[in-house]
Subunit: 395 residues, 4 copies
Amino acid sequence: MAPKKGLMQRLDEGVVIGDGGFVFALEKRGYVKAGPWTPEAVIEHPEAVRQLHREFLRAGSDVMQAFTFYASDDKLANRGNESSKKYTCRGVNDAACRLAREVAEEGDGLMAGGLSQTPTYLSGLGKAKTQKEFQNQVDVFVENKVDFLIAEYFEHIEEMEWAVEVCVKSGLPVVASMCIGPDGDMHGVTAGECGVRMAKAGAHVVGINCHFDPFVTLDGMRKMKTALDEAGLKVHMIAQPLAFHTPDAGKQGFIDLPEFPFGLEPRICTRWDMHRYAREAYEIGIRFIGGCCGFEAYHIRAVAEELEKERGILPKGSEKHEQWAGGLKMHTKPWVRARAGRDYWENIKPSSGRPYCACMSKPDAWGVTAGHSDLKQKTMRTTDDEIKALQQKKK
Amino acid sequence: MAPKKGLMQRLDEGVVIGDGGFVFALEKRGYVKAGPWTPEAVIEHPEAVRQLHREFLRAGSDVMQAFTFYASDDKLANRGNESSKKYTCRGVNDAACRLAREVAEEGDGLMAGGLSQTPTYLSGLGKAKTQKEFQNQVDVFVENKVDFLIAEYFEHIEEMEWAVEVCVKSGLPVVASMCIGPDGDMHGVTAGECGVRMAKAGAHVVGINCHFDPFVTLDGMRKMKTALDEAGLKVHMIAQPLAFHTPDAGKQGFIDLPEFPFGLEPRICTRWDMHRYAREAYEIGIRFIGGCCGFEAYHIRAVAEELEKERGILPKGSEKHEQWAGGLKMHTKPWVRARAGRDYWENIKPSSGRPYCACMSKPDAWGVTAGHSDLKQKTMRTTDDEIKALQQKKK
Amino acid sequence: MAPKKGLMQRLDEGVVIGDGGFVFALEKRGYVKAGPWTPEAVIEHPEAVRQLHREFLRAGSDVMQAFTFYASDDKLANRGNESSKKYTCRGVNDAACRLAREVAEEGDGLMAGGLSQTPTYLSGLGKAKTQKEFQNQVDVFVENKVDFLIAEYFEHIEEMEWAVEVCVKSGLPVVASMCIGPDGDMHGVTAGECGVRMAKAGAHVVGINCHFDPFVTLDGMRKMKTALDEAGLKVHMIAQPLAFHTPDAGKQGFIDLPEFPFGLEPRICTRWDMHRYAREAYEIGIRFIGGCCGFEAYHIRAVAEELEKERGILPKGSEKHEQWAGGLKMHTKPWVRARAGRDYWENIKPSSGRPYCACMSKPDAWGVTAGHSDLKQKTMRTTDDEIKALQQKKK
Amino acid sequence: MAPKKGLMQRLDEGVVIGDGGFVFALEKRGYVKAGPWTPEAVIEHPEAVRQLHREFLRAGSDVMQAFTFYASDDKLANRGNESSKKYTCRGVNDAACRLAREVAEEGDGLMAGGLSQTPTYLSGLGKAKTQKEFQNQVDVFVENKVDFLIAEYFEHIEEMEWAVEVCVKSGLPVVASMCIGPDGDMHGVTAGECGVRMAKAGAHVVGINCHFDPFVTLDGMRKMKTALDEAGLKVHMIAQPLAFHTPDAGKQGFIDLPEFPFGLEPRICTRWDMHRYAREAYEIGIRFIGGCCGFEAYHIRAVAEELEKERGILPKGSEKHEQWAGGLKMHTKPWVRARAGRDYWENIKPSSGRPYCACMSKPDAWGVTAGHSDLKQKTMRTTDDEIKALQQKKK
């Protein structure tokens, strides 16, 4: 049996499909708490995490990303999160790696460990302390022999560079992906410049994840592509956007939308949106195409189905999904059978069924970022008075 | 250890929370094919079905409904569905019962077997043949010692009466639930009259499931309640609506909406919608409160949280969900922390992020129902020419 | 020269087209004050009123309705309205009649005097006092030799019957038109019953005006038609709806909508809506087809163009309007020329350009009506404290 | 009696309020044909044009702009427009000037003659022929002693420069206003550069009119202001936007929207939009503030009321309009009286009442402009076959 191909070889030869979002899916299933968003479910409910990995594998994901989001020690202890009393960064990351590895081996999947932005950075505690948080996670990833590292969900290019610096030392392939839109990072660095700086820091794959919908994200990627080309930098590109429509999200993304995180339902993308996303991403030249929050298995399957020709295969999950709604030919009702066909679904403009709601929202846009006192790490739970003060600020 | 309380006792003493929808959830996860919608996943991927049962149990469901939807022999063989070549009605129903029983025993759950409308009836093949299909399923349910039977998703009161007749002979409690709205069944029988006829046929619990959103469904239930009261019938009531907003669905429900089944995302209800649903259902006097297509674990959890006081307990899943968004107090971003509170979420009007889409759709309304040739059972797969002819009809 | 045909003969022979709304049009032009809505402009700015009459005549109106809306003595003096200090009911009604007559004679138009609901009735002052207000106006109309009387914009069938009683004594044809929707009058009398009672009171033409959009109004008219048929009453019918879309208006019409009266713009009907309105009204059997608030000349012209075949003529104003957008063939830009054609405009779904606004509003629905203290006639201007108390009530 | 102050003095001392749109208003009233849009109404129906001028004067307009839009000889004869058979450029412009002068003298108004883009330019016939068209109009304006000239509704800076060149020779103050948005002219010249080139060509006042809503227009004006400042050019600025919301209009403005020109109703701005517009325009430093298509008297009145303090006066029309909905204190219904107040109307988000329509449209964007064969002057009426060919192109 031939050894498994690595990430870089796969990207050079074709398309790598990422997986979808874990925190939102597992929150809805009952295993993750919105607010802290920490991944202790890998220890508490491994069967639930394993099942979600399997759904993505079946849907066509080539990558099992260990569920290590926000699993740095500082985050596990932030603002009254009790996870740190029960679990350590090491324990969580280790369990996450083992689950991801287990499912990856059920197919031909790669397995990756991930880092993301830290409260330490937001609190302004400096490079050394921030890198220590990263190093703690990377150590576990290396021990677990992950296939590559992914530094994602960074809002500030500075913190990202610090993360990439730590990752590069491991000798593993490094994917670097910021949660920014076409307007660039929180400190005013353009999307193009972010791409260039990630590449120069040593990342092998650079791009954007989370915070914006597929189409806003690709607008950002076009800018990054242009800047990379102009700088003569040859790196691969990744996109892992939200599966929520966010044309109105402003600079900081869906976090700023009033619907975040408990009223985003009407924004959920259809599978047909994902066909379009996959095609446009591919045409830009992006070869690592996945998803973030909101992306469920059927969204990933749509990406895989759109790229069937390019990849030469269909995912297993397509056993239960004839392309472009072909399964509707078996529907009992004749007017639903009449909907079997690409033309119908490619052009649908789905209604919300909510005539008392608008189409777009005004984002909160407080304009505070790294270093601001409201953003500082704090182990105590936020008090009711503090919440009231914030609500007052909002008005 | 005291013996488990049965359905009727539980309803008399308080509230029974149903589970959510299996076909839509498992379609998105990759285990059910939209179109035929048959439940062979219970054999092919038991771990996926088991996981979904567990999510509902954890979210507060008191009932594990065996995943036997559309698992009659005629449906497994309809319009080119290949399930009938591999599996039998008996095999599928048996496997489904065992999975549901297994998870029910992980908690204090009841387990139910379910029947639904048949192609045989729609094809106009008469009472004897239709009841034979039902009997085949009920036999398996009785062998598996289900706690009660549920006849649901019937569009015609006549077929429902035939189903209840079969169920009642088993001696088990019988729940009867039609997929109708306030305008009544497909043959013009009012919602109120449907309720009365189900009760007179011997059902112990009567109500409405699927096809309409919670609030349209409750409008139908109010009519049913009035008719039952006027007829002096003392039965319990059940509601298991969609988790999709359908103010525009016409008489036949979401099937008629152009977005069915692959563009319903913008219609998905929030958890806050479900708080309102649970409260209103309870106030009408409904004591079996659950969900159907689109209902995921977090929707059921919202029902359970809204009825915490009435039930005296919170579900296990609420470990990961502080009521009314309390978890946001732990969010990193101060403007998100400011959203922690009931007032904020109770009044949110979530935007769709889709400014090029309307709020409401015109339903297809072909007006064909049981007996019409387009609805007849047919084992061959629909041809492309037949699809074209239907599409022509649509225009 | 043959004598002018009267209203009843015209209705028997074909279609009579009414005019549009004066208060809203003249408010926008600067001659009527929103709030009191009284028509002293007939004295203060006769040229502006005359011009509006002419626009309707040119657009195809067969009827010049004297601008006497709310011109009863009690209304001119209500809540701080200073009109009563300068003008009398007699003076205003007389001037209005002369203007309407003048323009009617420029064409083949009929001229009508109108009555509407009174503060006296709303204050619960009884039949005698209410009828005195009506008689004062009718006296002026008779002196001015109006061609017929129109009692319109009544919310209560009781007050309407009193008005018709006064009108009938004049010996003139009497048109009776209530501002109700399909749900009937403010005291719970059905739309059908309202129609029957107006006819029985002696009205020659009965129907609905104002408060609802053309299509809601026609829903009401269908009910009225059915009731009239069932009662065996042979009278003509009139519809004069709003030119604002009001699917969400509740029972009391657009007054209850939060946008009333200064934010109704996005609800304004297109000319193409009026084609559909005219066709549907005609098919119901309505032969007096006009408009109320929001109806401008081009809306009336659309009615006349839709009914060109039935009436055998086009209005003068169609010199400047080729049917179904034919004039666009002369447009400079080719993509606008491509819009010349019925198919394009008949199917357009016009966007609002307001992505931060919803499609429907929740109406205020205070449920107070005739007799309630908040509705009583009051000559003093409302104080700021009274306004604050009302705003408090609103919450 | 002191001599009337001229335009430049008024601008130096305070704010000049322009008038609103004539072609759209008079099309609705029945005097202008949509498509050719030519102003022969000044001869055919002077009383209708005079009345509209008076409404604007009464609403607070300081400028009576002669209704000479598109009244160049070439436009009067374009694509089957029969106006040229009856009227000449000279005759139309002369009549327009006399009407505007008459009403201007009823108040303290200035009177202006206007030029706009020509078919000659679009046909690529060159500078000499294009300027000849302009000169023909300017000659009439000079004879009629207009107070200033206004070159407006130009899509190409080149044609605008040719127009300004002609105007400047007259020795009159010259206002230059392009129908562009923030993206600049049709040949790719930025908004800022357009402003600079108009000023350098000799215009005394420069700015933007038509094609976009007030807020998109002001975005363009901000760019123009910056460029003028950077170039050290001291000129006054003008804004005369649409009264239609056009956030979705693309580069060529509302012409490209599918609703143009017969389905724009849901986009009509409220008076409260105009308060905001006036305030923002003033804050940018714009001192000539008016409106274009869709602007009616009540919109201009809102501008005047917002700037009451800056101008020291209220318009006559405010006799019938208490600021910020004060008149509602006199309304019969208490819940409407509760709406009397600034807070209510300043924050209203008006619903469209059209749940089957979207909020935004995709503009046609053919990308053809001056020189393209489809845009060439043509005296023959467009044939049905030509229309069909264009419709085909559209798909």
